[in-house]
Structures are given as C-alpha cells and as structure tokens.
Amino acid sequence: MRDLDESDIEALAIGAAILGTGGGGSPYIGELRCRRALREGKRIRLIALEELADDALVMSVAGIGAPTVSIEKLPEGGEGLRAVRALESYCGCTVDALIAAEIGGGNALEPMITAAEAGIPVVDADGMGRAFPEMQMCTFSIYGHRAAPAAIADEHGNIVLFQRTVSEHWFERLARSTVVTMGGSATGAEAPLSGRLAKQIAVPGTVTQAITLGNLVMAANRQHTSAISAICAQESGVHLVDAKIVDVKRHLLGGFSVGEILLEGMDAYAGTRAKVAFQNEFLTFERDGTVEACVPDLVVILDVDSGRAISTEMLRYGQRVAVLALPCHALLRTPAALAVVGPSAFGLEGIEYRPLSDGRAASNPSSMQIGKTP
C-alpha cells in the first residue's frame, strides 16, 4: 500500500489519457478534484491486488455519461460516495477498497476521489486495462461477475438502485437511460466483488502502469527526448507510423461518435498511407489494406512532439500524430473476452483478431485460456 501524491496524480492523468485510446473522456476535472482532496489533507492510497485479502470486498466506481456534459456540468462532489453507501446499505456490507472499472480516460480518477472521501484505498487494477464504450465490456462482466446490484447517483441526491438486471446488456441500457434523465452525467457503483475474484478477473497493476506512462512522458518532455519510443519500450508496443491527419470523417450512430481518420506518413514514414477507425475509442489501424492492429489491443494516437494523448473529439485535419499499438492484457484475449470486446463486437466483420506479440502475455499464468483467436 502506498500514498499517491499530486505528482502521481498528474502522471496518472497523462497515462490514463494514453490508455484511453481516444475515448474515456478527459481526466482533467478528475485530476483537479484529486488535487483538491490531497490539499484538504485527505489520502489517496493505492493497494496492490496481491495485498488484498481474499475475503475483502471491492466495489467499482465510474462516471457514466457524455464527456461533453462532464466538462460543463461538473459534479456536486459526493455522488460517488452516495452511490457506494447506498449499495453497501442494500447489500448489507462494508467495502474495503474501490477499483476503477476503466483505467482509460477520466474514469481512472473517479474511484480515487470517492476513496479519499471514504477513507479507503484504491486497488491497483481495473476492469478494462484501457477504455471501452460500454459497461459490459469490462473483465468483471466478461468473467461472470454481474454489475447489478448497482447504484447510480446524481448531483441532486437522487440515487437509482438496480436490484437485478437479466443481462449485462440490460444493465447498460437501463443505466444509460437513467443517466440521460439525470442530465447526461452521473456516478455509478457496481456490485461488490471479493478480493479472491478481483485477483482472478481484474486487469492487474494498471494504476501503476498509467502513472509510469505519465512519468515517462513528463521526463521525455523535460529532457527533449522521444516520449513515443519510451512508451513503446515500456509497453512492448509497436510504433506504427508518424503521420499527418489528412481527413477526419465522423458521424453519430446510436449515441456513439463513429468514423475514421486518414493518415499520410511523414519523416521516416513518408509515402505511407494508413487509416484508423474509431467508435469513441480507436478500433483498428490499417495500412495498405492490412489491419495491423485492432481491438482489444490498444491503438493509441499521440501528439508526435509531446507524446500527449489525442482524443477522438480532438482529432482534426493537419494534426501531426504518432500511432502506436500496445498489447492488451491476456484477460482481454480469451474467446470469452473477444466475443465482447473483439473486432466483431464492434461490427468489424471480416477482421480476425491477431494479438500483438507481447512477452508479458505469454508469461502471465492465468487460469483462463489466452492468446487464441476464435
């Protein structure tokens, strides 16, 4: 267990944006809220998965809604804690730690804020190892842990309790419409899971991973070295291309920002033409008709000079970007996971998931079948 300070939070925000793969919302508001909590003397403590007792209870906390709303209607502040307390009271339990449902983007910071208020630690793990557009795309759900009972709280003090949903898709649908009624932004807490289960189905070490990435970027900016190569080295990732965006096509489809960007290689990549498809998050990287990286591996777009993440909402014509592919965790590569977060789950027919090679995936002992495509 260790205490996070303001510099950790700054690094976490940078790293979480990178792991957001273009989505997940900006971590900026969450970063400011964590800084405020620390300045008020509250503690943000990080506990490793292995430090967690098997019978400990862990609850995931996440902001739900539209990023455009969350930069305008800032939270009241106590939403996360109210959701946690309501769910504790319904379940008749007391949670020992909180965990991020999604390390990518603003939701990396959400459990930190609530945990600082509640005086409990945050687990160094999450349910995605990146960002995904829907709540069932979470390892907790994929491996059989039901989101409900769950609670969603708004700034007024309203709390909606989901006693039971018949599937994770139903939870997603019901939660989404609840949040729209609450004004497009709210905070949710989901059914507690045991420490034993968390150790099996949570993506481990992702808070530390994000902080490490953030620190690498800041150090590279200070020393005027390449953040891109530092990130690739750290993550066993592939530097796919340095390019200029020559076109951004986007449209709205069922509440998602869907589209693709066309890239034209520059510097060492001059002459390369490539394409990145997105649905809130970046999904695939394609060059000369070949898909070289695709979900659930992380397709990351960074500013070529600063190494800072560029979200799908910030994409525009003429931007100079680096595209990286980072291997996802083995928990996202099983047949069960690929059915929910693989290319076919995003309607990408005809694309077969080929895992990026990754030393960690091969050496990671897991009870789950890994690394196979369906």
């Binding site: 800032l74 502040g77 449209h251």
Partner: protein, 514 residues
C-alpha cells in the same frame, strides 16, 4: 470612404490608409508607453502622407495587444467577484481552481455558488433563487468589488438564467461591470468561466484605454466610428470592446495572417510572420487563420477562445548568434527593439540574425561593410540553421504534400530564403505592415454554438437554424446582409449519449456596412 487600420504592437505602431482594395499609405512609428501619443503620431503622419482630410475617413480599426499584456504582466486587473449558477452541481471545484497563484491573488477569491444553470437540453438544474442572488449582490457591494463575472452551467445552450442574474446584480451593485459567460465562450465550464473572470477584471482598464484611443482619434479630427479587431480578425465597435476586452486577445497574429492573405491575394497559404524575437507560423484556410482546437493558455489560464493555431519559434531579426559545435546557436535570445543600436550592420557590437541575412546577400539594410569581415563558412552555417528552423516551422503548418505558397510578412522576414522546404516564398509589397492592413480589412462576424436534439430534426435543419441565428448576429455586429458567407460550420455528436444530441457551431462573416 477611406479606412484606416492601426496596429499598436509592443515595439511599433503601424498605420495604413485603404480605400476598397487599394492601399494608399503606410507608416510606422515607435509605440509610446501611453499608447495614445504613438497612435496620434501614426494617424497624423499617415493622413499627411497622402494629404487626406480627416473628414474623408469613414472607419478606423485598431488592433492592440494591450489587454493580453495586462494579463501576462498581472497589472491593472480589478478585483472580481464570481457568481456561478450551478447548485446543486459543480461544487467539487471552485472558480479559478487551476489558475497561477499570483493571478488569483491579483483578482482576489470572491466566489459565490448559487442555484441555477441548465442541463444540456436546456431544462433547469434548479430554480433560480432571487433572494439568494440579492444577498450575494449585497455582499459584493459590501466588499467594495466593482467587477463581477457570472457563469452558469450550459449557459451557451440557454442563457436566460445568466441574464436574469445580471439584471438582479445591476440593481444590487449599481455601476458594477458585469460579464455573462454566455456572451464570452463555448462549452467547458471552467474554461469559459475563467475567460469571463479575466474579461470582468479587465473592464476598468478597457474603459480607460478605449476612451483614450477614441480621444486620440477624435483629436486628429477624425469623427467616424472606431472599431477594434477581435480574435477572429473581424471587428467590434469601441463600445463592445469596452465590454469585452478578452475578445482582442489573439488579434495580433490574426491580423497579420489576414493581412498576408490580402496582400498576396492567396486564400490558402502558410504565413510566416518574422518579428524581432519570434517567428509565428500559421495556416490560412479560405482567407482565415486555421483555429486551434485545444484549450488556449493566456497568462497561465486555460481558456476556450477560438484562437489561430499559430506555432512560434524563437527566431527573429534580432536573434543573437553564437558559434558552437556542431551548429551555431541562433536565438531564442534577441536584442529585440534595440536592433538598430546593437546589430553589427547598424554599428553595434552584437552579431544578429539580421547581420547573417545581410552577409549572405538576402537583405540589404544598414551598413553591409560592417559584416564584410565575417568568416564565409560561419555565415553559411548560420544561414543553414536559420533555414532549418524556418523550414521545420513551415512543415508543421503543412497539411498535405500539395504545393502551397508561403507568404513572408513582418519586419524580420528579410531572414527568409526564396524557397523553403521546396515551397516558393512570396514577399508581398507592404509586408512589414501586414498587421495594420489586416486590421483595415473590416469584416464583421456572427457565431452560434448550440446543442440540438436530432430526434425530430434533421442534421441539416439544425445546421441551418444555427446559421440563421449566426447571420442575425453578424448583421447586429455591422455586417451587410448581402455579403455574409459561412466561414465555419461544424457539428460534433455528444458521444456516449443515446439521444442523438449534437453540438453545432456556425460562424458567418460579412463586409462592414460602411
């Protein structure tokens, strides 16, 4: 009727006289500490140079960096109260939470959160409490604060609450300078609120500055309306400028790019503005600077102004040259406005980028014999460094491999080679006064940003509705209806919400009705 454009920069004040598309006179004088006497000197000189009677001037446009500099230097800022209409939401972060401490101290921390604000679809979050607002007004009055910023959640979508609170605060605090956030910026509560606070804090300075600029113009015998350049290069009348000084923050680079477009006749080009200390490079798209999409930092404060996407490098005519291995250093240190005393070609002791340009035969200013003795190899190496810095900056602005003209403007553009990165460099006539010419171009704009629910409305209908609203605003700002064209039109869906809500932004521009 004739138009006069004036650019009041940190070093020089430039003035031009234009009539239609013709440039009749250009003058340059030193900026004075009081701004007004330099302005008057420039006006008198430019009128005399073509023997123009002041009564034949129909429009005066002034571009100034005065208000940006006040924020950067933390001077002449008024203590400002902030009233945020948000409760019960948005209590988690107070106004100015991410500001530098010295700027927070200069403005004071007088923050009031009150019930109000709306959801993204315009539904009230909570009802406004007039009694509460009156109590807040009384407290502001008791503290002796005369500047107030009012922000409300989603006020760009629906501004009714902000207006109501504005009226209540005028009653409670007679004479106070009140700025509503809906009049300032776009979505993003903290950024819009910060811009609103800066605006209110600058209001007293704006009153005195704009009054003295008007006085200066009037004392030169010119009785026509006075306008100021705003961030997007279009005009606002002096009364609006007094109320919205923040809208002048980016007028400098915008005017120079718009002037470059006019002088070169190119609507799509890369503009390189070389000054004494820095070079600004930006892209012209359909005659207007391409806008930055990320937040813009002004004096350490994040704001969401629409500002030109300009890349700056520390290279200018006054950049100091020192030999080093493997390559000489040029800039970012500069002799700045002391160039005509310090540079070798002006008899001074310092080797500057201008001296290299003269020794290399690119420029012919000062006394070339002063650089005759320079080592030829050193001159070549330095010229190589200058070319590399400029070529890299130009390449950043390129968005396609298609050839695009490069327009060199600004006093330091003598540093520019004839070709850069394979692109032809144009040096239009009057390049040194592109700023003042940009100011004199005289267009007015209207901009609208709204969220539309596309359940019973097509995307095209939403865009058209926003365009009509923007056209009405442009006409109010002084545009001639027949000349209005759409300059920006975009819609970005609100991701993650299944209501098909989309954010639409439309901006239109037209010629001033003279």
């Amino acid at each position: 009727m004739y138009r006069i454009g004036i650019d009041v920069g940190g070093t020089n004040t430039d003035a031009v006289i234009m009539d239609g598309q013709a440039i009749h006179a250009v003058v340059k004088v030193s900026t004075t500490p009081d701004v007004t006497s330099g302005l008057m000197q420039a006006l008198q000189m430019v009128l005399e140079s073509v023997a123009l009677a002041p009564e034949n001037v129909g429009l005066v446009v002034i571009g100034t960096t005065h208000f940006t500099n006040a924020v950067i230097e933390r001077r002449n800022l008024s203590p400002t109260a902030v009233v945020r209409l948000c409760l019960p939401a948005a209590q988690c972060l107070m106004p100015m939470v991410d500001w530098p401490a010295d700027l927070r101290a200069a403005i004071g921390e007088h923050h009031y959160l009150a019930a109000g604000g709306v959801e993204f679809d315009g539904t009230p979050i909570a009802a406004l409490d007039a009694t509460e607002i009156k109590r807040i007004g009384a407290d502001i009055l008791a503290r002796g604060i005369r500047s107030i910023a009012v922000s409300g959640i989603f006020s760009p979508v629906r501004d009714q609450f902000e207006h109501e609170v504005g009226r209540l605060l005028v009653e409670a605090c007679p004479g106070a300078a009140i700025t509503l956030s809906s009049a300032i910026g776009q979505l993003g509560l903290l950024e819009r609120e910060s811009a609103t606070i800066l605006n209110s804090a600058l209001r007293e300075l704006a009153s005195t500055t704009v009054a003295s600029l008007r006085d200066g113009v009037a004392q030169c015998g010119i009785g026509c309306p006075v306008f100021l350049s705003q961030n997007d290069g279009t005009l606002m009348d002096a009364t609006t400028a007094e109320r919205f000084p923040v809208l002048t923050f980016a007028s400098g680079p915008t005017n120079s790019m718009r002037g470059a477009a006019f002088l070169s006749g190119k609507a799509d080009a890369i503009v390189v503005d070389v000054g004494g200390t820095t070079t600004d490079v930006g892209l012209l798209h359909r005659g207007f600077p391409r806008q930055a999409t990320t937040t813009v930092n002004v004096g350490g404060v994040r704001t969401n102004f629409r500002m030109p996407d300009v890349f700056s490098v520390g290279l200018g005519g006054g950049s100091i040259v020192t030999d080093a291995e493997p390559a000489p250093h040029i800039g970012p240190r500069s002799v700045g406005y002391r160039l005509t005393q310090e540079a070798r070609v002006f008899g001074g002791p310092v080797l500057t980028a201008t001296d290299i340009a003269v020794a290399d035969g690119r420029a012919d200013i000062g006394d070339a014999s002063q650089v005759d003795g320079l080592d030829h190899a050193l001159v070549q190496r330095c010229a190589g460094v200058i070319d590399k810095l400029l070529a890299d900056a130009v390449d950043r602005a390129r968005i396609s491999p298609e050839p695009i003209p490069v327009i060199a403007v600004g006093g330091g553009s003598i540093l520019m080679p004839d070709r850069i990165g394979g692109l032809e460099v144009m040096r239009p006539q009057h390049f040194a006064a592109a700023n003042a010419i940009g100011a004199a171009l005289a267009q007015a704009s209207g901009e609208v940003e709204r969220i539309y629910l596309l359940d019973n409305l097509s995307r095209e209908a939403a865009l058209d509705d926003a365009e009509q609203a923007a056209r009405r605003k442009a006409i109010v700002a002084g545009a001639r209806a027949g000349s209005i064209v759409v300059s920006e039109r975009e819609d970005v869906p609100l991701a993650y919400l299944r209501g098909n809500a989309t954010r639409v932004r439309v901006k239109v521009v037209g010629d001033m009705n003279l």
